[in-house]
């Protein structure tokens, strides 16, 4: 019952958004700005660049709202725009090569052994730093799959890649993460695969 009410409310909100209601658009920006910034930063944009790309993403979304038919989830649709904006930004600045490299050269901190009672915030930070050490395409697939809960076909649409390519990114990314995070997860994870 509550779920249905929530769905109706959400439907009404999307309706207001598509009708060009500014309040609904402000709620839309508030709801998704974190994800859009995360997408831009994950693909290697600096803070100021991420802000520009996020701004362009929401503007493109505003212009394209009239064409949104609800075939994909609103978040998937927005992720696709954000991803394209960030990749285009890198291409324009002749930095496409970065997409095949890690986001940043993170110092190897394997020696800092994590105890079993590791603080979860600290652990989250370690996981993120590990993801940053992956090539960005892999990192994007990992974040979309594990953080956003997107399906393989949704990720393929967002990244404009084949499903098999996405599966490969996920497999390789996961294997690399297991190696990097072996000390965090300890003997719980079979590093050998």
């Amino acid at each position: 019952m509550a779920g249905e009410a929530g769905k109706n409310q959400s439907g009404a909100w999307v309706g207001r958004l598509l009708a060009g209601d500014h309040q609904a658009f402000a709620e839309f920006v508030d709801k998704y700005k974190g994800e859009v910034f995360l997408c831009c930063r994950m693909l290697g944009l600096r803070e100021d660049e991420a802000e520009n790309a996020a701004s362009e993403t929401f503007l493109a979304a505003y212009k394209g709202l009239s064409r949104y038919r609800g075939q994909a989830k609103l978040s998937t649709w927005l992720w696709r725009i954000a991803y394209r904006q960030a990749v285009n930004y890198l291409r324009k600045n002749r930095r496409s090569k970065q997409l095949f490299e890690p986001a940043e050269q993170v110092a190897d901190d394997r020696n800092a052994q994590m105890s079993a009672g590791l603080e979860s915030k600290e652990q989250a930070e370690r996981i993120w730093r590990a993801v940053e050490r992956l090539p960005r395409f892999w990192a994007a697939a990992i974040v979309l799959f594990y953080r956003e809960g997107k399906s393989i076909s949704e990720i393929a649409k967002i990244m404009k890649k084949r499903k098999n390519t996405v599966k490969t990114y996920l497999f390789r990314g996961r294997e690399r993460l297991k190696e990097i995070l072996a000390d965090v997860f300890g003997e719980d994870v079979d590093v050998g695969g």
């Binding site: 658009f25 803070e47 802000e51 990992i142 953080r147 719980d188």
Partner: protein, 128 residues
């Protein structure tokens, strides 16, 4: 611990860890976005108005060109139009002379009519 359980635990921890990640977003980002969207909306309206004005101007020019071409290609029709126009102008002159004696009354009437048309237009399309 079995390999499957180990894999599941890894996936679970990875998901949980990644969901905790939040990128810092400037506080006024939403307000700035709203401002940009409003500007975009105004820009679109302005572009539409300019386009309408250009179309109207193009229409006037085209009409003039068509009239000149018609007059050149069909001089007979143009001649009859000229005669009809002369008759029409004569009639207007007669009407003005007839109305001339009562110009105060017609001025008030024209003012009232203009105000009524203005009110009607404002009522129907004023907001847009």
């Amino acid at each position: 611990m079995s390999a499957d359980k180990s894999e599941e635990r890894f996936d679970e921890m990875l998901g949980r860890g990644l969901r905790k990640r939040a990128e810092p977003v400037p506080d006024d980002f939403t307000d700035r976005m709203l401002r940009r969207v409003r500007e975009e909306q105004q820009r679109r309206i302005l572009a539409r108005v300019i386009m309408e004005e250009r179309l109207a101007l193009a229409g006037c020019i085209l009409l003039g060109i068509i009239t000149v071409i018609m007059a050149a290609v069909f001089p007979g029709i143009a001649g009859s139009f000229t005669k009809q126009a002369e008759v029409f102008i004569d009639k207007i002159t007669q009407i003005i002379e007839a109305v001339g004696g009562q110009w105060q009354f017609y001025t008030v009437l024209a003012g009232a009519f203009g105000f009524a048309v203005y009110s009607l237009v404002d009522l129907l399309v004023g907001d847009s």
